[in-house]
């Protein structure tokens, strides 16, 4: 019969459609994973080596420059070394300008690397100082040290696993080698054998630094590298140097010190150890990467072929029963159901996190010891970052995160919370946010979209610069701005970024994921995000908040942290009004408290951060503090 036939056909097409969705759901994340792995390899593998070479050559040039100024190194030897340094810098520039690498690493990483290459040009100025006249050895050494530091810290994305155990051990070894190299330069710059008190103090300080760094790194090294380290520590080249340093530290300042042992031997040993450890770490990482990439290729490729085959068969007409059997056999429950499961898991995770954070909060208010409080702060920061991920996932899969506000929340608080949920939040300044209150429904979305922009700014600007988040009213409403001092973006990148912000499906490369999330979150709350280069360098991300979300209200004031008003406050704190006059034109104190308690329920809601039950109050006029119980 026709109706049965139509129904069975419909059935088969639905099953086919589901199959496509399932394949996409399985293949896309894996492919994205693979892209991420490829990108990480592209940056560390291709760029790690050239940057390391630049560091090694700069260290050697520092040593020879110090020796040259102390008349123990010839001009020719120094000139030859300078050529080697230049070669290393050229190699870094060439690698960084390779189009293949640039595509894999992402545009901003590539441009940040360009920035690093440019900063290394400073070496020409240092050389001019060395050649012209007789500058102090220490001054020259310090300028080279600053250059080396640039190479170490100017490329934070080179050490993506800096937080991992092995990653931090390798970084520690590198820094220990730098301390040794500085010591070397100090010694050669004072051919008498570290006689002056200044050099002596410097050598002792550097030796201590190196030993601390090495001890820390050794604990984190993989077993095989650890054995090498222990063997090196027992060798004469290590013990001779250590004994000389100890004698120097213990000797009275007037006594001439023994001539230093050759540091080269130990330096070579340390370098060998580092190279072996890096190679080992890389080998360990390769199998996992290969599995990820191969798995993605297999699933994406073979899966696609299979899906196409099914669809082609469907299209060609079919004998209903066989095809339906094939289709139903390979399609487990509906994708909507799976999505709901994922969402449910995330909701549960958020509930657990919520309890954890509440306990942490209580603990922090009770603990009396600053050291413990500091540890709790670090745990809290990590938990907050996890919560951000969970809430973001819930939002991006179409859910509503569990934290909700029915009343407007001061934007100052939203901005501070956003800054606090990214790594490196210590570098973010949030002081310049004009008072305004954000509709409760938009708090979580605005917070996380801002966090994406802040994290991007923190990641792509050098560690010694600050990221500023500001907010201001203008003629059309309110604009939040995230400004960094990193390299900006060229017109092509800006256009691509605008596309990603507006896209409704994830971008093909992982490098844009954060921006994609920003766009989706902005879409949820009706905000508009735009990127542009700042006039004085750096990138500006501007978030325009729709007027409907804004309320004119005091910014985060004392009332939000449970302060009893010190001055007799106006009675009413009216419900938040839509903004009619700029808040900053109000006389101070005209709106003493953000109008929070606007929700039904007995009494007024207690101020936000008060412990339930006990509210400290000040009796007006008496100046005496009593502890009352909240009604």
């Amino acid at each position: 019969m026709t109706s049965t036939r139509v129904r069975s056909r419909l059935w088969a097409w639905t099953a086919g459609g589901l199959l496509v969705v399932l394949w996409a759901a399985a293949a896309v994340p894996l492919t994205l994973d693979a892209a991420g792995v490829v990108r990480a390899h592209a940056t560390t593998r291709q760029l790690g080596e050239p940057v390391d070479a630049v560091i090694v050559q700069l260290q050697e040039e520092r040593r020879l420059s110090a020796g040259f100024l102390a008349d123990v190194v010839t001009r020719d030897a120094l000139a030859a070394q300078r050529r080697r340094t230049d070669d290393a810098c050229t190699r870094l520039r060439d690698t960084a300008s390779g189009s293949l690498w640039r595509t894999a690493a992402g545009a901003r990483t590539a441009r940040a690397t360009d920035d690093l290459v440019r900063r290394l040009d400073e070496r020409q100025n240092v050389r001019a100082t060395v050649d012209g006249g007789k500058p102090g050895v220490t001054a020259v050494v310090d300028r080279y040290t600053a250059l080396v530091a640039t190479a170490f810290t100017g490329a934070p994305w080179l050490w993506p696993d800096g937080e991992s155990r092995t990653g931090s051990a390798l970084l520690g070894l590198g820094r220990a080698r730098e301390a040794l190299s500085q010591e070397d330069a100090a010694v050669i710059g004072d051919p008498g054998g570290a006689r002056s008190a200044e050099v002596r103090a410097r050598v002792v300080r550097l030796a201590t630094t190196r030993r601390v760094l090495l001890a820390e790194a050794a604990d984190r090294l993989p077993a095989s590298a650890r054995e090498k380290y222990d063997a090196l520590a027992a060798e004469p080249r290590t013990t001779t140097l250590a004994a000389w340093e100890d004698r120097l530290a213990a000797a009275p300042p007037t006594q001439a010190s023994a001539p230093p042992p050759a540091l080269d031997a130990y330096r070579t040993g340390l370098r060998d150890l580092e190279v072996a450890a890096v190679r080992r770490a890389r080998e360990d990482a390769v199998p996992a990467a290969v599995v990820t990439v191969a798995g993605a290729g297999l699933l994406a490729g073979v899966g696609l072929v299979a899906v196409i085959a099914v669809l082609v068969r469907l299209r060609r007409g079919f004998s209903g029963s066989r095809s339906r059997k094939a289709a139903t056999a390979s399609s487990p429950p509906a994708d909507a159901h799976e999505l709901e499961l994922v969402l449910e898991q995330n909701r549960r995770n958020q509930a657990l996190l919520h309890r954890q954070l509440r306990m942490l909060d209580n603990l922090q208010r009770r603990v009396g010891d600053d050291g413990t409080l500091g540890e709790l702060f670090r745990i809290d920061h990590l938990a907050s970052r996890v919560r951000r991920n969970v809430e973001k996932t819930i939002a991006l899969t179409g859910g509503t995160p569990g934290r909700r506000w029915t009343v407007p929340v001061p934007l100052t608080e939203v901005v501070r919370a956003a800054a606090a949920e990214v790594p490196g939040f210590e570098r973010v300044s949030t002081a310049q946010v004009e008072p305004a209150a954000l509709a409760g429904t938009a708090v979580v979305d605005v917070m996380h979209l801002l966090a994406e922009l802040v994290e991007n700014a923190v990641t792509f600007s050098s560690a010694d610069t600050r990221v500023r988040v500001s907010g201001a009213w203008d003629a059309d409403g309110y604009v939040l701005t995230v400004a960094d001092h990193g390299p900006g973006m060229d017109d092509d990148d800006l256009r691509a970024a605008a596309d990603v912000l507006a896209a409704t499906t994830p971008p093909p490369t992982r490098a844009w994921d954060g921006l994609y999330a920003t766009g989706r979150l902005a879409d949820r709350c009706g905000a508009a995000v735009a990127l542009r280069n700042a006039d004085g360098g750096g990138l500006l991300a501007e978030v325009r908040l729709p007027a409907a979300l804004l309320h004119e209200a005091a910014g985060a004031t004392e009332a939000t942290i449970g302060l009893p008003p010190a001055d007799p406050a106006p009675e009413a704190s009216p419900a938040p009004r839509r903004r009619t006059i700029p808040a900053q034109r109000l006389p101070p104190g005209a709106s003493p408290a953000p109008a929070r308690p606007a929700r039904p329920g007995p009494g007024t809601a207690p101020p936000q951060k008060l412990a339930p039950g006990a509210t400290p109050r000040k009796k007006p006029g008496t100046g005496v503090t009593t502890v009352g119980t909240d009604e």
Binding site: G371, R378, D380, G398, V414, R416, A431, A556, G562, A614
Partner: protein
């Protein structure tokens, strides 16, 4: 597939996985108020140190809400414990904020009374302040 849930009944707090307003917890976590710092440096504040604001005025925009709150509180000399109690902040946090304010010249430690002449009334206030933490 629609994940929106019916709005819960207030003020009970709603379903297990949704928290409203105050139940949603502080928007700004404690660590964010001090940039993660819990050590005040070398300022030597103790719970009973009295603190008072100076005549210096900083532009309001450069102060965090907590710092403004401390300055408002410290119009008269107030002990660190009382400040912490009023603001329901950990002592460590208050120490750090006070250290910053002192560095900026916005608060000072007025002449301290003899530590061992704490009156019963002061002890009582301190006790109450601590209880409120």
């Amino acid at each position: 597939m629609n994940s929106l849930r019916a709005a819960p009944v207030l003020p009970g707090g709603g379903p297990e996985d949704a928290w409203y307003d105050d139940n949603a917890g502080p928007v700004v976590r404690l660590y964010a108020m001090t940039g993660g710092r819990a050590h005040p440096g070398d300022h030597g504040f103790t719970v009973s140190t009295l603190v008072q604001r100076t005549e210096e005025r900083a532009p309001v925009s450069t102060l965090s809400p907590e710092e403004s709150a401390i300055l408002r509180l410290c119009a008269r000399a107030l002990s660190v414990a009382e400040i912490a109690a009023y603001l329901t902040l950990p002592l460590g946090t208050v120490h750090v904020l006070l250290g910053d304010l002192r560095d900026a010249g916005l608060v000072r430690i007025p002449q301290q009374p003899e530590e061992d002449h704490l009156s019963l009334a002061v002890m009582q206030r301190l006790h109450e302040g601590l209880l409120a933490l």
